[in-house]
Amino acid sequence: MDIQRLKPHFPWITLLVLVTIVGIADPSFLKPANLLSLAGDIVPLFIMALGLTFAIYIGGIDLSAQSMANMITVVASVYLAPLGIWVAALCILAGFTLGTLSGYLTTRMYVPSFISTLAVGGICFSVAQWLSGNRALNMDATQRNETFGWMIGRTGIVPHELFIAIGLLAICLLIERRTVLGRALKAVGAGELAAAASGLNVARYKILAFAISGGLAAVAGLLFSVKLSGGAPTIANGFLLPAIVAVLVGGTPLTGGVGGVLNTAIGTLIVAVIRASMLYFGIAATQQQMVFGLVLIAAIALTIDRSKLRTVK
């Protein structure tokens, strides 16, 4: 009975346990400045995972997120000079539009999101290659600092990325918990046919979920390119799987309707801690991949709330 009540809190608890374990191994890990900077560094990944949460929450998936971010780093680097701050609008618009395309293909053309988003990712990759002429690009350092410097600075020991992350998380959380959109997405995830029979415009909400996912992937790409002061068609590689893992470890299963953005925040932190623990425990290079997989299985086994999964597929 008590376990039942604790279940929704397992992701938190898992995170705390992991932090404690690493903290015992090396107390310096627990220094607030360290923890904050650890959290700050994972923000681009978190923003991408945040977007993915919407796609996964309705029972789909967005595999275009990484290519989207890649493309956006190129777009941002190319158009920062002519557009200035408006390049941000361009990036988000591009992400939103391509996300809408994925959503359209999924809902109206019945292409499973696994395929439609993979394909849209291919389009992004081609655009990125073409636009960049297949090489790494630089932003003009002074212009970057003037336009977007505020994104990556630090106030005291708090990295500014964290403010961005918390802001986006708060917005997404409100959307999820307190708006018609959030409720509709939950209904679509948990019972799409019933949602349709209740007169919800299911297709529109689904498309919107993919569009939000695309838009947030673009924000992730933008922040990342600002951080690196440049872009390249492969520079955001290695984001996708950790972002999916973050969503899943947080407790939003692929079956939809369960979990949410707060879970993703915790999931991302869990991924960050597992990653850092490789260093703190001095795991040998050849063992890191394997240990990561094993710890992941353990973490997922702890965090998912099975009582909410009707069947485990």
Binding site: S28, F29, K31, I42, G238, F239
Partner: protein, 333 residues
């Protein structure tokens, strides 16, 4: 440049690199390990920060390492993608640690602008050696025919330079036509499949193959073997042990050795000795801060010697001779 703080005694040493799944990086790390052993430490004291091809992880891991050591560390690093180099070295500078980089950095980033904490950057000018292998290839083709190029990940710097080398050589061989150049992503499987498709498209027109690295060449050789083609002239790059063996067997005309073992050791050594205060980077000339690494062309003629010298028994290097084997200051176009 900023002022380095007082010398660090016994800094922790880390190598940040792509992955453990390639002969090239293994060799780099083995050099790093040889270096730490030269300090009387165990191999394990070299920390591996593996970025798995993710710039994001590369930066995050380095920051975590800086935090863990409180900045008392020396880092050798390939930043994975050139734009990633700046945030990495800035983070290292802010933490008061020391870093030496290889391969990836943007052209506008220079150690002397960052300060003593950014000790050095080494890269390999791939254009010249790739041109040399191309010439060897063209000679073997009899100065005429068609050549295909199978490249690395399209946006990677070395991939671009190696293709440029081929193009440079082509200027002197008007009867040789570059049929096509496509990326094979440094990957063996991609290499076979791309080569098979080239065979369909160009058929007998292909009389020579220029590969951006050894792994691709392995794939090309297998694609040709499947067709029963044994004597196609092929050149590659990297000088991995398997490739050197293929050169000795005559299956590969040439490959280029960049001595990753030495590169791995010396990069760590530069960061380490700068950290301990053994030398002060800002007092060194620019050609000691940004320089080319050594390249050794391996052909059938010298493959056996080469193998004996570099592969059978790894030579022991003087890890304080930082610039001996290097190849001059980096030039930007």
């Amino acid at each position: 440049g900023g002022a380095a703080r007082a010398a660090i005694s016994d800094p922790a040493i880390a190598w940040s690199y792509r992955d453990r799944a390639s002969a090239y990086w293994n060799s780099v790390v083995s050099g790093g390990e040889a270096f730490v052993e030269s300090l009387g430490k165990s191999k394990d004291s070299l920390v591996s920060l593996i970025n798995e091809g993710s710039s994001e992880k590369s930066l995050a891991d380095i920051k975590a390492f800086l935090a863990k050591t409180g900045g008392k560390c020396a880092i050798a690093c390939d930043a994975n993608d050139s734009p990633n180099a700046r945030p990495v070295v800035e983070a290292v500078r802010d933490a008061g640690a020391y870093i030496s980089t290889i391969w990836n950095k943007t052209d506008d980033l220079h150690p002397w602008d960052i300060g003593d904490n950014y000790v050095s950057h080494m890269t390999w000018s791939d254009e010249k050696p790739a041109e040399q292998t191309a010439r060897i290839l063209f000679d073997a083709m009899g100065g005429k025919g068609g050549v295909v190029h199978l490249g690395g990940i399209a946006a990677n710097n070395p991939a671009i330079e190696r293709l440029n080398g081929l193009k440079n050589a082509l200027k002197d061989f008007p009867d040789i036509q570059l049929l096509d150049a496509q990326p094979a992503d440094w990957d063996t499987t991609k290499g076979t499949e791309l080569m098979a498709s080239f065979l369909t498209r160009f058929g007998d027109k292909i009389t020579g193959v220029h590969c951006a690295n050894d792994n691709i060449a392995y794939g090309v050789i297998e694609a040709l073997r499947a067709e029963g083609i044994e004597n196609m002239p092929i050149v590659a790059y990297d000088g991995n042990p398997e490739a050197v063996k293929l050169v000795m067997d005559g299956k590969l005309l040439a490959t280029v050795f960049t001595n990753p073992h030495w590169g791995g050791g010396i990069t760590a050594a530069l960061a380490y000795y700068a950290a301990t205060g053994a030398f002060k980077p800002s007092e060194e000339p620019k050609e000691h801060r940004e320089f080319y690494g050594p390249t050794v062309l391996v052909t059938k003629k010298d493959a056996a010697d080469f193998k004996a010298k570099y592969l059978d028994a790894v030579p022991s290097y003087n890890w304080k001779d930082f610039w001996g084997p290097s190849n001059g200051q980096i030039k930007y176009k």
